[in-house]
Amino acid sequence: MTKSDGMTENNGMTTDDRSIRDLVLVGHGMVGQRFLEAWTEQPAARGWRVTVLAEEPRPAYDRVHLSALFDGRTAEDLSLCPPGFLAEHGIDLRLGDPVTAIDRAGRTVTTRSGTEVRYDVLVLATGSVPFVPPVPGKDAAGCHVYRTIEDLDAIRADAEAAGTGVVVGGGLLGLEAAGALKAGGLATHVVEFAPRLMAVQVDDGGGAVLRRKIEDLGVTVHTSAGASGVVTGPDGRVTALALSDGRELPADLVVFSAGVRARDQLARDCGLPVGERGGIVVDAHCRTEDPDILAIGECAQAADGRVYGLVAPGYQMAETAARTLAGPAGEGFTGADTSTKLKLLGVDVASFGDPHGTAEGALDVLYSDSRSGVYRKLVIGPDGALLGGVLVGDTEAYGTLRPLAAAGKPLTVAPEQLVLPAGFASAGPVALPDDAVLCSCHNVTQGAVRAAVRDQGCDSVAAVKKCTRAGTGCGSCLKQLATVVTEELEAAGVSTSKGLCEHFTHTRAELYEIVRVTGITAFTELLDRHGSGEGCEICKPTVASILASLGNGHILDGEQGALQDSNDHFLANLQRNGSYSVVPRVPGGEITPEGLIAIGEIARDHGLYTKITGGQRIDLFGATVDQLPVIWSKLVNAGFESGHAYGKALRTVKSCVGETWCRYGVQDSTALAIELELRYRGLRSPHKLKSAVSGCARECAEAQSKDFGIIATSAGWNLYVGGNGGMTPRHADLLAADLDRETLIRTIDRYLMFYIRTADRLERTSVWLERLEGGLDHLRAVVLDDSLGIAAELDELMARHITGYQDEWAETLADPGRMRRFASFVNAPGTPDPAVTFVPERGQIRPARPGESGQTLTAPVLVAGARLEVLTP
């Protein structure tokens, strides 16, 4: 559907070509955007011109994940409006110009700028506004609400100068806001009027577990207390929040997040009926009393008399409205599942069905473990059907339980099996009926998913997502979705190999176990006994890494030498022109002036390009394979050893100077970093490993972006795991706090060995941890409490690694067999590679570009005065 610009401009009072009808959408929030997507999919949408009048200055974005802006994500990351979407469908989106009045008789709306826009059909998706309790001082400087990106920007700006923040409201949004304040570095309080947190979703028991977990994170919770007034200083800024129980909480910043109210003023002003407690009254087809005006999302009171404040029901209303407009009224919207699963302040919380057991004859089955902070309650009906439940601390079962509750059929297993921890539950997987709704965001049943696989040729989760939209909303059903897709594919006889490559049907973790248990040390034996074919660039380096992790001698010896990727094969890093770079180990980033001079002299003598790395060491570029042994013999003589920059192995342990020098340091971070780097150097793993040690909470070493990071506290060391920089950054999770040195090292030993044992090929710890069943709690149980009974084994493997460590480069130089590979040409060993050439740039060398005439580097390079010139003798 394309239209000329002129026609769009004509959308005003003057009638133009009346064969085109005008649909005007008021509001471009999450529900508004979902409506546009659903509408443009309707064949009936042809012949309609769509104009969107929006108040906010940017297109629809993901409000649910607003706090992600505190974790470094940008407003663009949250955008829900795909680039090109509006243009493709000829939608005229006018930002920052909200509708101020509706003229039902004249069928026009007027915007703040005074523009009148004609409509044939009007869809209201104005959302809601935060409810601010009418307390004195509520508008003082430093008081905020939490709904838009602009709100969050304002909070962030204020937070910079603030020390303490108070959130009024301990519901879902309140805890989101508290998470944002905490991420902004504020001492955070939550004030909740009800006797427990998240009063709507969880019960007293779940609320208590949730509260304990949140308080453990350093957020102070005050329940059964309301805000009675905002206390301000002489400058009019907030200084404290007065509570209904008479106390005053000192505060530099207050966020009101005590619920929302439907934005129904436009409807009220033009005489459309609204509900008793707000919300534009609509029928099951989302029509208001005026058949040409529809209302969807949080601004509407649905046919069941409820105003839904969740996005999933809003999406369903958006889809209903699109169907209503498209033609013979289809399936209506008569109420929605308000089940929720979310992570608040890092705590998993889920509630589904009837969590409070309000139905007659409902009974509870309960499991509560305050030690590990897990709470599970199921509500069972008199007929044995699952009615609902509350999960706190571990929401793994949500994907199965929610559809079971929605199906409303008697359970086929004893309900206690569903709440017990994995080790105690003996029941197999629970079978869901096909009419169970798997994805509640898009209302997709398990049957529809099965049909997509069976009848529509979808052969992967990605294909099913594309075809059914299941799993594309909140994503909480993805795990269950994957299970169903795999089941259905297997039923159809499609093999869904999780194997490494065509030569092995095993995962990396399975191959690791095979190698460990059988003691096989040769790739060909492994291939012939457990695989097929000749191997490839995927399985060969993987097996090489497993063999190295299990301590099988020098990586270049015997058959192992033939398995290594080019980098490991030459113990150096391949660069774009075929030359290599060299990185000597500089443990903890600490280096003597003599060391610096030695590296400098070697680089100068060989004409290498030098650059400081992000891991606090020095990278020397431009070496050809035949130069590597000469360069390394000099480095080894100067006391350096391999830095393993070429390997899937421990790279560096970065550090700050710590308490020795720094005014703020509380522990000797440099000494610990050196100790750890020397302990784990050479450890081969599924992917590279990076670490850092910070001497205080200021975190100058950026430990939270590392696979394992350590931050000093006055009482010991905090250990963070699973952090990552790079393409998909992830903040590390706190595994254990205030550890003494010995416990810290033992814990890291086990963590690393457990990762090496169970991770997939090229799976960083961040991804592994996300995938690990039971997550951080499970990891904690394995490495701290030895829940799997493998700790001694992991300790032993690490001990073997440490005692078996030898510098790969020193060992290589000492062995003529290993040295043979470092020849430029098998038939002309002394000849430098004529294809590797360089040109000078900024006083150093760089690879010559195609078409550029450069020179080969043959040592020594002569230095002439201040101007560096690369000369061949």
């Binding site: 000749e534 990727d565 391949l574 075929g578 002309a828």
Partner: protein, 119 residues
């Protein structure tokens, strides 16, 4: 035993079989602008192809890994990991190189001859 490569005009003795590690390659310099990647697989079959990787333009294929895809013997480039069929030199992952040329490696005749025999 000597490994010999034919450059279109004559056979060149380039190394002995013992110089080659099964599963890996070496580089051979024919002239300043002609480099060959020479491989030995674990059944002692020999392959000689261009050393130049068409995707990066670098002379690095001798440092790639041998393997198989289905029943075809393959070579994976160490640079961006494209896989080539050693029987016909074709790239199995992409048809054309970034410069628009077909991603096919020239194959060179290679044979094993008793030591000393370059004819």
């Amino acid at each position: 035993m000597t490994v010999q490569i034919h450059d279109g005009t004559r056979w060149h003795a380039v190394c002995t079989l013992d110089d080659l590690q099964p599963g890996r390659g070496v580089a051979v310099l024919l002239s300043d602008d002609e480099q060959i990647a020479l491989f030995r697989d674990r059944s002692d079959a020999l392959y000689a192809v261009d050393n130049r990787d068409p995707f990066s333009g670098a002379q690095v294929l001798s440092r790639g890994l041998l393997g198989s895809r289905g029943d075809r013997p393959t070579l994976a480039s160490p640079m961006y990991k494209q896989v080539f069929d050693l029987t016909d030199g074709r790239c199995l992952d992409e048809d054309t190189a970034p410069d628009g040329a077909p991603a096919v490696l020239r194959r060179w005749p290679v044979r094993l001859a008793p030591s000393g025999g370059a004819a």
